[in-house]
């Protein structure tokens, strides 16, 4: 029971990671593959934030009632900082991915993976 309570979050996050990888491997539409990559990225961010939790600890904002010498009263703030920038960078690179998809559609008039490979073999 202790083992389950200590590890259940990791198993859910690994399932979400496999859902994201499943779309890239098995779906034919390129836009769906980009959505799958976005789900993959969100699961990684959830994993980092889930590792940083401590029992009976409070949010990482300094409070006079919780002395700062006992660091087990505050949640670890370092993974939060790294994931904050990762979310905004993820949105910017999602914009770049959609720009590439729009240019592919302008030139080939299709977003299907198998049809695209056949069109590109003709060149």
């Amino acid at each position: 029971m202790e083992f389950f309570l200590g590890h259940y979050a990791y198993w859910f996050i690994i399932t979400l990671l496999c859902i994201g990888l499943y779309t890239v491997l098995f779906k034919r539409n390129l836009l769906k593959q980009v959505i799958g990559l976005s789900i993959f990225q969100s699961s990684i961010i959830l994993f980092w934030v889930a590792c940083a939790v401590k029992w009976n600890a409070t949010v990482p904002i300094y409070d006079h009632a919780y002395p700062v010498e006992q660091t087990s009263l505050y949640i670890n703030p370092l993974p939060h900082t790294l994931m904050l920038t990762a979310i905004v960078v993820g949105v910017a690179t999602l914009g770049v991915a959609f720009a590439l998809l729009i240019i592919i559609y302008k030139n080939y008039k299709t977003l299907d993976e198998v049809e695209l490979i056949e069109e590109m073999k003709k060149w």
Partner: protein, 149 residues
């Protein structure tokens, strides 16, 4: 997204809400020291307030609100503010982004670091806002030759 939306409810509510969202975004940037917030969150809210007007009113009319050519220069200005603080600290004697060597008249010690963090958060907020609006405008760019001639 190109023309104005026909429903009057969408037009009135979005035009009434957008300045308050912009004000709340500026508040979130300035209160990053005392509550959850900071540069990235506030910059995204500022971008959201501008994108709301672009969705509701159409691309041509919202040029009067925020021109399409302002997005990328704002992004570059935000990164320049961040980098400029670091260069001033380097010129005045320390390493890049070492706030103990930064110059604000009249403040030293921990207050100097607190104010330098505020300047950097403003730079980050402007950069995120400019780039997110610029990416939206680029994705929606279209051949406008037929409309102009």
């Amino acid at each position: 997204m190109k023309e104005r939306d026909e429903s009057p409810i969408v037009l009135i509510v979005s035009r009434a809400l957008s300045p308050f969202i912009m004000l709340f975004g500026a508040y979130v940037i300035a209160h990053g020291h005392y509550s959850p917030g900071g540069g990235f969150q506030g910059g995204s809210m500022l971008a959201a307030s501008i994108l709301l007007i672009r969705l509701a009113v159409g691309s041509r009319i919202s040029e009067l609100h925020f021109k399409r050519s302002w997005g990328t220069p704002l992004g570059v200005a935000g990164v320049s503010i961040f980098f400029g603080v670091g260069l001033v600290a380097m010129i005045l004697g320390g390493e890049l982004l070492n706030y103990d060597y930064f110059f604000i008249p009249g403040v030293t010690g921990p207050m100097l670091r607190s104010l330098s963090i505020l300047i950097i958060e403003i730079g980050v907020g402007l950069a995120v806002m400019g780039i997110l609006v610029s990416i939206y405008d680029d994705l929606l760019e279209e051949d406008e030759r037929r409309e102009d001639l």
